[in-house]
């Protein structure tokens, strides 16, 4: 089988722009995405979703249709509804990309170079009762809105911190969907810490967008700021939300609770591929180490967009272009006939990253929410509590891999996506070490559970197995 010049993982703004620029440069490109169509998280459903072709979700969302059309016009081959479970660099420097294409099928795609543009996931917000049906993330509710045109019914509460929480509130408000209460859990001191980033923020596009958003959501919604604790209450499903602010404790009836704690890079795939990752103390997340084109210390493995560090959709698109130019230079010795375009994308990247530091500081979660009380479940898969993890640390489990072995936290099918960062935060609080010294639980391929039939189908086709 002839290898592709380039395999791109992820069809968000980063992956789509990378595909368009790489194809324009004459490369053979294959793009793989778990979703059903181009768009990624921000532009989910912009081709065939409930609001495709409308401006009802705002001008940012409408931009997705334009990018998706450019991608379709590029003629790049794509595999949708397919999950990349492993990226492996061979001895000859090329890559084997293992892809689960169905519950009983998997294929290996060979590539000279890989761009991982797998985006972000929401940072876990572990609270009492967050495993109850009826409790979801704000991102999940927003995905239901974009893909299927479905919204919460009955009393709905939003809780947490981060621009996306307010964006969802604003999108609901614009559509006439009533929100009962928004519980803002950002620490009150965030404003002071964010102040020194105000100049950058005012120079950014977020300033205008941000204020417009807030006003819209504020007018329509009851917002309670400075909330110190949130709990989901119910027997077999959510019936109410309790919160505490200072001496005030209240319980409000709710059918749906939407949690949000900001977004962090999805690192399972790039970590398991061997790329070096580093703790970013301002963003409270692990990020891959990359050069100016997005290349990691695994030669030929590039990372673009939010999976490399949260920068938002505009930055993701610019990074996608820059990674494509980097790949062109690597394979063709030149990034196209003039490097003006590359400089333009680099400028756009710089502009779109202005204001990010302000948002990071303003919406930073509270320490007490990153490292929750003892009885809160941290690992949803194996039902391991914060107390279990603390006990393990006190018994001598100094790192996340030991905590995993002691408690089973991180051993379930989500492979620590829902508990990894919280485990690190708890160890940090208990031992006084910095997350940078603690590190993350080891992340291995396949990055999603594989069925026996998938493995069998790999060997049936004579390709090498996805699992070593």
């Amino acid at each position: 089988m002839m290898p592709f010049d380039l395999v791109i993982v992820g069809a968000g703004p980063a992956g789509l722009r990378a595909a368009v620029e790489a194809a324009a440069g004459g490369l053979s490109v294959m793009l793989v995405d778990e979703g059903r169509e181009p768009g990624g998280q921000i532009y989910r459903g912009s081709e065939s979703g409930a609001f495709a072709g409308t401006a009802k979700l705002g001008p940012d969302y409408a931009a997705g249709a334009v990018l998706a059309a450019a991608f379709r016009a590029s003629g790049v081959q794509a595999l949708f509804g397919a999950t990349v479970i492993q990226i492996e660099r061979e001895a000859d420097g090329s890559f084997c990309v293992s892809v689960a294409t169905g519950h009983d099928k998997a294929v290996v795609i060979r590539a000279k170079v890989v761009i991982a543009a797998t985006g972000a996931q929401e940072r876990p917000f572990p609270i009492d009762g967050w495993t109850l049906p009826g409790v979801m993330t704000a991102g999940a509710a927003q995905t239901m809105l974009k893909a299927d045109g479905v919204v919460p019914d009955g009393p709905v509460v939003l809780a947490g911190t981060g621009p996306l929480l307010y964006l969802l509130a604003a999108q609901y408000a614009a559509l006439g969907v009533a929100i009962d209460t928004l519980l803002d859990t950002a620490a009150p001191g965030n404003w002071r810490r964010a102040l020194r980033h105000v100049p950058g923020f005012l120079a950014s596009r977020y300033a205008f967008k941000g204020l417009g958003l807030l006003c819209k959501a504020l007018a329509a919604t009851r917002i309670i700021r400075g909330v110190e604790a949130v709990a989901a209450i119910g027997d077999t499903r959510l019936s109410a939300v309790a919160y505490r602010k200072g001496a005030t404790e209240r319980t409000i009836p709710a059918h749906v609770l939407l949690l949000h704690h900001g977004v962090v890079p999805q690192i399972n795939l790039t970590w398991s591929a061997g790329a070096q990752h580093r703790w970013n103390a301002a963003r409270l997340a692990f990020e891959p180490v990359r050069d100016a084109s997005g290349q990691t210390d695994v030669p030929g493995l590039f990372i673009a967009g939010d999976s490399g560090g949260i920068g938002g959709a505009q930055a993701a698109e610019a990074e996608g272009a820059l990674a494509a130019f980097g790949v062109l230079r690597m394979l063709r010795g030149t990034a196209g006939d003039d490097d003006r375009t590359e400089r333009q994308w680099r400028r756009r990247l710089a502009v779109s990253l202005r204001g990010r530091a302000f948002l990071d500081a303003l919406y930073a979660p509270r320490q007490s929410h990153l490292s929750p009380p003892d009885d809160v479940i941290v690992c949803r898969c194996e039902e391991v509590t914060a107390g279990d993890i603390r006990k393990a640390v006190r018994r001598g489990a100094m790192g996340p891999n030991q905590v995993k072995a002691f408690t089973r936290a991180g051993m379930g099918p989500c492979q620590s996506r829902m508990c990894g960062l919280t485990t690190v935060a708890i160890i940090a609080a208990e031992t006084g070490q910095s997350p940078s010294d603690i590190g993350h639980m080891r992340l291995r391929a396949p990055v999603k559970p594989v069925t026996v039939a998938q493995i069998a189908s790999l060997s049936d086709t004579g390709e090498r197995s996805a699992v070593d």
Binding site: H103, T131, G134, T137, M144, G149, R380, M418, T451
Partner: protein, 101 residues
Amino acid sequence: MFRRLVEPAGHVTVTIDGRPFSVAAGETLSTAMLLAGFAGLRRSARLGRERGPFCGMGVCFDCLVTIDGAANRQACLVRVRDGMAVQTGTRLAALADTVPE
């Protein structure tokens, strides 16, 4: 719990736990199940508690269901098809069919 804001172009029929439901063509399975009143889709591994869709984007694995006999599929990553048969209530320990690492 949830309602439809936009009317679908067409409908298909899926069977959930043996009962037929008319759902929007092409809709995400987890959305269709929430609209059909299924809040809990599976049970947790250790305590056997009900779990429903949580992250909506394939990272949490709480929405695992059996689809046309295939166990442990992520309902948030699958679109409904006419005639699809879905089974809820798997207790996650039954992940034995899969290779976790």
